[in-house]
C-alpha cells in the first residue's frame, strides 16, 4: 500500500450507510416481512417474586388466530447465561420461567398467533396460578441474613470463584496496606455515592424475524449489536448445530449496549422450528422500557486517606452492583468496575470489595462503559471534595495524583497507556484555564518532571 492510500486519518469520510438513511432505503428488521408470518408475544410475570403453580391456556386457545403456546418444556437447554462464552457461570437464567419468577415482567410462556393483535389478546387471556413470595429490591438488604434467597446456590451474590482457587462473595482487589495508609493520613474522607438504572431507549425497539429455509437452516434477521455472540448462545440454548443458524444483521436503530443480551432470538428460532413458519418477535415500546435490560444501579462507599498536601495515600471502596434478577453482563461489569475504582490516579494502598448482587428488579446489563461510569462519577466527585478539604485547586490535585506510565495499578497491571496529564493540559488550554508552569511541564512519560 502506498502512502497516498493511507489518507483517512484526519479526514471526514462519508458514511457507508448515509445514502440509505436519508432516502429511507436502509432496511431495518421491522421493514422485512414474509407471507405466513406468525407473531410472538410473551406471557409475563405480574409479580416480583413467586412460585409458578400452574398455567392455564384454555381461554387463550379460543382466541381466533391462536396457533400455539411454548413453555420451558419446549426449550432444549432452558437455563443459560450469555457469558458462558467467556467462562462465566453457572447458568442462571431461564429462557422461559420454570418453577418460579424473579422479577415483574419475566417471560413465562410464548404465544404464537396469526396476527400481532391476536397474539397480544391470547397472551392477555393466559391465566397464571402464582404463589407470591417476599421480594427484595435493595442491594444491601439482599445480602443481609433473612433476605429472600433468589439463587439455587443459596446466596444473592455472584460467586467469583476463579481467583487463586478461592471462592469470593465479591470481586476483590488488595494492594499495599490500606490500614497503615489510613493511620498515616492527615484526613479521612468518607462518602456514599449512588446511581440509578438508565434505559437505553433506542428509537427502534429490540426484535428479530426468523425464517425457516428449505435446506433446514433458519435465517435470523435481527437488530442485535452482537451477531455472533447471539448466534452462539442461541445454538447452545437450542442444542442446534451452529451452521444451521444464519444470522443477518448489522443495521441497528440505536443500541447503546441495550441490544447485546440474547433474549428475543432463541425463543423466536424455537417458535419457527416448532411451527415451520416465519416468526416475528419485536418488543413494544413498553417492553423496551420495562423488559429490556437497563444500566445497573450502583451504590459505592468510599473511604480515602489524604495528606495535607493533597496526595491520596489510601483508598477503601465497598461497592454494590444491582444485577436485578439475572447475570446477563453483570459479573463482567463488576470486574471492570473493580479495576477502575481508583480512577486514573496513583494510590499506593487500595482495598476494594465489589459485590455483584441479585435483587427482584428488572435485570441490568451492558450500556456504554458499564461498570466504569459509576466508578468515574464517584472518583471525580471524591477528587473535588478532597481538593476543597485541603484547600487546593481541583486541577492541581488531579495533576498531583495522576498516574503515569510505569506506575502499578491496584489490580497489579503496570500502566502503559497513560495520557491523563496531557489530556488535562489540552483541556486547560482549550477552556482558557492558565495552568502554573510546574503543571504545564509534567508528562505521563517523564517521571522526573515531578509536580511541585
Amino acid at each position: 500500500m502506498t502512502a497516498q492510500e493511507l489518507n483517512v486519518v484526519g479526514q471526514s469520510v462519508p458514511r457507508r450507510d448515509g445514502l440509505g438513511h436519508v432516502t429511507g432505503k436502509t432496511v431495518y428488521i421491522d421493514d422485512i416481512s414474509f407471507p405466513d408470518t406468525l407473531y410472538l408475544k410473551m406471557v409475563r410475570s405480574p409479580i416480583h417474586h413467586g412460585i409458578i403453580r400452574g398455567i392455564d391456556f384454555s381461554e387463550a386457545e379460543k382466541v381466533p388466530g391462536f396457533v400455539r403456546a411454548l413453555t420451558w418444556k419446549d426449550v432444549p437447554k432452558n437455563i443459560y447465561t450469555i457469558l458462558c462464552l467467556i467462562g462465566v457461570g453457572p447458568d442462571d437464567e431461564p429462557v422461559l420461567a420454570q418453577d418460579k419468577v424473579l422479577w415483574q415482567g419475566e417471560q413465562i410462556a410464548a404465544i404464537l398467533a396469526e396476527s400481532e393483535a391476536a397474539a397480544t389478546e391470547a397472551a392477555d387471556k393466559v391465566r397464571l396460578d402464582l404463589e407470591e413470595l417476599p421480594a427484595v429490591f435493595d442491594v444491601e438488604e439482599a445480602l443481609k441474613p433473612g433476605a429472600p434467597i433468589l439463587k439455587p446456590w443459596g446466596t444473592n451474590y455472584f460467586v467469583y470463584d476463579y481467583e487463586h482457587g478461592q471462592s469470593n462473595a465479591f470481586r476483590k482487589v488488595r494492594y499495599g496496606d490500606v490500614q497503615r495508609g489510613f493511620d498515616q493520613a492527615d484526613y479521612i474522607v468518607e462518602e456514599r455515592y449512588t446511581t440509578s438504572p438508565i434505559e437505553h431507549a433506542p428509537t427502534e425497539t429490540t426484535g428479530c424475524i426468523v425464517r425457516p429455509e428449505p435446506n433446514g437452516r433458519y435465517t435470523v434477521y435481527t437488530n442485535t449489536q452482537a451477531l455472533f455472540f447471539s448466534l452462539d448462545n442461541s445454538a447452545l440454548i437450542l442444542q442446534a448445530p451452529f451452521q444451521n443458524l444464519h444470522f443477518v444483521g448489522g443495521t441497528v436503530g440505536g443500541g447503546f449496549g441495550g441490544k447485546v443480551d440474547v433474549i428475543v432470538e432463541p425463543i423466536a428460532i424455537l417458535a419457527a422450528m416448532k411451527t415451520g413458519r416465519p416468526v416475528k418477535y419485536r418488543y413494544t415500546r413498553q417492553e423496551e422500557m420495562r423488559i429490556s435490560s437497563t444500566r445497573a444501579a450502583w451504590r459505592l462507599y468510599y473511604k480515602d486517606g489524604v495528606m495535607k498536601d493533597g496526595r491520596i495515600i489510601a483508598r477503601q471502596v465497598i461497592s454494590y452492583h444491582d444485577a436485578g434478577a439475572y447475570n446477563r453482563h453483570s459479573p463482567y461489569a463488576v470486574t471492570k468496575h473493580a479495576a477502575n475504582l481508583s480512577g486514573p490516579y496513583n494510590i499506593p494502598n487500595v482495598h476494594i470489595d465489589a459485590h455483584c448482587v441479585y435483587t427482584n428488579r428488572q435485570p441490568s446489563s451492558a450500556m456504554r462503559g458499564f461498570g466504569v461510569t459509576p466508578a468515574s462519577f464517584a472518583v471525580e466527585v471524591q477528587m473535588d471534595r478532597i481538593a476543597e478539604l485541603v484547600g487546593m485547586d481541583p486541577w492541581e490535585i488531579r495533576f498531583l495524583n495522576a498516574y503515569r506510565n510505569g506506575d502499578m495499578r491496584p489490580h497489579q497491571k503496570e500502566v502503559e497507556d497513560a495520557t491523563l496529564i496531557e489530556v488535562m493540559q489540552a483541556a486547560a488550554e482549550m477552556t482558557g484555564h492558565d495552568l502554573p508552569a510546574n503543571l504545564k511541564a509534567m508528562s505521563s512519560w517523564d517521571k522526573e518532571a515531578q509536580h511541585g
Binding site: 436519508v22 437505553h200 433506542p202 428509537t203 440505536g254
Partner: protein
C-alpha cells in the same frame, strides 16, 4: 364495523386502500403499501420517527386514522427523493453527518421540509422548535440543526436568492 375504501394522494399518485376502522396511516403505509421509510418507534406519538406530511403539515402517522386522510395529500420520505440524486435536505443530512443509526432520520427530514416550505430562512430557534416532537437517541441534534440550516442556504441559493444563514 365494516372496512371501507379510503382515497388519497400519496407522493403525488392517487392511491386507494381498503382499511378497517381505526387503522393508522402508519399501518397503511408500512404494512399495506410497503412504504417503509416511515418508521415505527413507539406507536404512541412519542418519538416522531413515523412523521409524514399531510397537506404539507408534519403529522405522526401512528396516531392518525387512515380515514382522516381521505382526499388529502400525503408525502413520505420516498416521495421527497428525486428520481436522480437527492433533495437538498437529504444532501445536507449526508454532508453534515446528521444521520447516525438512521431510525429518526426520515421524520427529521420531513419536519425540515415542512419548516423550510413555510419559513425558508429559519433561525436556529425556529429549527429547534420544529424538531421538538422528534427524538434522536444517538444525540445527534446539533448536526441535524446544522443540516437544516445548510439546506436552507442551498435551497435559497438555487432559487437565485442570496443565502442568509
Amino acid at each position: 364495523m365494516a372496512s371501507r375504501i379510503v382515497e388519497f394522494t400519496l407522493n403525488g399518485r392517487l392511491t386507494e386502500v381498503m382499511v378497517k376502522p381505526l387503522t393508522t396511516v402508519q399501518t397503511v403505509l408500512r404494512e399495506q403499501l410497503g412504504y417503509t421509510a416511515t418508521k415505527s418507534g413507539c406507536k404512541q406519538g412519542g418519538c416522531g420517527s413515523c412523521t409524514v406530511l399531510v397537506d404539507g403539515q408534519p403529522m405522526m402517522s401512528c396516531l392518525l386514522p387512515a380515514e382522516d386522510i381521505a382526499g388529502q395529500d400525503v408525502v413520505t420520505l420516498e416521495g421527497l427523493t428525486p428520481r436522480d440524486g437527492l433533495h437538498p435536505l437529504q444532501q445536507a443530512f449526508v454532508d453534515n453527518y446528521a444521520a447516525q443509526c438512521g431510525y429518526c432520520t426520515s421524520g427529521m427530514i420531513l419536519v425540515g421540509k415542512a419548516l423550510l416550505d413555510s419559513n425558508p430562512e429559519p433561525l436556529r430557534d425556529d429549527i429547534i422548535d420544529a424538531l421538538a416532537g422528534n427524538y434522536c437517541r444517538c444525540t445527534a441534534y446539533e448536526p441535524i440543526i446544522e443540516a437544516i440550516q445548510d439546506a436552507a442556504g442551498r435551497m435559497a441559493a438555487s432559487n437565485g436568492k442570496e443565502a442568509h444563514r
